[in-house]
């Protein structure tokens, strides 16, 4: 049972980390908590559902479809909200209200389009078979979710740590004013980061329909809560920390699921509180600014 919980925790944890990566990126760059993040994941799930049930395509094809669409929407949406946030005396509060509104709009539109019922895909991403890992049997969507999450996260890390634009993004995460003073086009970099954040959320949605056993319009709030917990455990504004936070969250959840299923929903959040009390900046968060 230990081995099963360990492997499952890692596989699901990688998915959680990937699902939270966009939230972390958006917070790190824009200093806003996108509470519509979970609703974008839901939209990704519905795209996978539609491609599978209407077009009879493999749902994973939704990922390359969702990425450019999400990036374009992210770029446009950032340009729309940036002037208001820039003028606001309290941009954090304004962004919270704004994204709450976006979340409600997405949920309402999803309800109109898909009804309140749970929609599930009867066939897995690579058939309905199971997979044996170290003698343990897992539904095939778990390793598939991890197999998509790992290269996806690696690509984001390569972008952040090996590209010129990624360096500008990390400078922006460190200090907006100093990024401006380095000659970085902060508006364009922020807009691109927000687009990438939405693309990550929509891609995670394609996997979420399997990991969460389906999709419904009101699922967004729970998904945002999970992603937020993962990001806080790992360290707010640190994309690498989000991945580590996902593993911690996934392992806690799967071990609880294996040994005390009734506690499975509680343990990861109790862990969140413990991390906050012991290390408020998160396990891999940035320490206080240097004077």
């Amino acid at each position: 049972m230990v081995l099963y919980a360990l492997i499952s925790g890692i596989l699901i944890g990688l998915f959680y980390g990937f699902a939270a990566l966009g939230l972390s990126l958006a917070f790190g760059v824009l200093r806003v908590v996108n509470i519509a993040h979970g609703d974008v994941i839901v939209l990704g799930s519905y795209l996978a559902y539609e491609l599978s049930t209407q077009a009879h395509l493999n749902p994973l094809i939704a990922i390359p479809v969702a990425i450019p669409v999400a990036v374009v929407i992210g770029l446009a949406f950032y340009r729309l909200i940036a002037p208001s946030l820039g003028r606001s005396k309290d941009p954090e509060m304004l962004s919270l209200i704004l994204f709450f509104g976006v979340s409600q709009v997405i949920e309402a539109l999803a309800t109109i389009g898909f009804t309140v019922n749970q929609d599930t895909l009867l066939t897995g991403p690579v058939g309905n078979g199971s997979v044996q890992i170290l003698g343990q049997t897992f539904p095939n969507y778990e390793p598939v979710a991890a197999a998509v999450a790992v290269p996806g996260a690696l690509l984001v890390m390569l972008y952040l740590y090996r590209s010129r634009l990624g360096l500008a993004t990390r400078a922006l995460m460190s200090s907006r004013a100093d990024a401006l003073l380095a000659g970085i086009d902060v508006g364009r970099t922020s807009a691109l980061s927000f687009g990438i954040a939405l693309a990550l959320a929509a891609s995670a949605g394609v996997l979420s329909i399997y990991v969460n056993g389906g999709v419904n319009p009101s699922q967004g709030a729970d998904l945002t809560t999970t992603a937020f917990a993962v990001v806080v455990i790992g360290g707010l504004g640190n994309p690498g920390g989000a991945l580590a936070g996902g593993l911690v969250f996934g392992l806690a959840e799967q071990f609880a699921q294996s040994y005390e299923p009734n506690w499975a929903g509680l343990v990861p959040y109790a862990l969140l509180l413990a991390v906050m009390l012991a290390k408020p900046e998160g396990l891999f968060g940035r320490r206080a600014r240097y004077a």
Binding site: A171, M173, S174, A182
Partner: protein
Amino acid sequence: MSEPAPIASSAASPAQAQAPAPGPGAAAAPGADATPLLELRGIAAGYGSMQVLWDIDLSVAAGECVVILGANGAGKSTLLRVALGLVPAMQGSVWLRGEDVSQLRTDRRVARGIGFMTEVGVFPELSVRENLLLGAYRLGAKQARANLERTYAAFPLTAQFRSRPAGSLSGGQRKLVGVAKVLMGDPSLVVMDEPSSGLSPVAVHEVVEVLRGVEQSDVSLLIAEQNTAFLGLAQRAIVIEGGHRRFEGTVDALRDDAALKRAYFGIE
């Protein structure tokens, strides 16, 4: 935290490193062009409804060093932030080489050849190498890589600690990395906000010596300070008190002003 390393090698001073590779906006010799490099005209500024600067004029000629002297809260940093577009002016205008840039974004003013060093000076979470590359961000990747080698030679400290997070260095080392970072961008004007902040007298002396080398390479300097050690670099100084310009003139004239002498040099 390690001991401060030597700041600039004796073999390759920052001045020597700067001189052969002037940037697009490299400064002309003093007097070659009467148009000031930077000119602030009648600046009034503040935060919200709180005004902190009233009718400040200031100019920096090509190749010149000007020090803005003032106590904490006098408005020095605000004036620099207005010059760079980080704080909007309530009144007045900002001119670069005769061009009114008052409505230009900060990154576009930087692109015209201004390098700004804040009190912190570096991105603490990023490595020294990454900080240097960001200093030359406006020049493009190829030029940034070329300037990196030049900077490693001029500032051995930056080569020695290239992979370390800049925030893990001592205060003096961070300032020197900050200076090297700003020079990476081949600026024609370097603007510095309190470069002595948080430094020991020895580290202040080292920073002043490095800036002396920068000055000799015809890069203009505008330094906001309350430490008079930087006056040795300057041709002119302005003194701001309570948001108003109290004095403007040569450093010798400043030293001859009895009231200012008492206030800033502690001499009766």
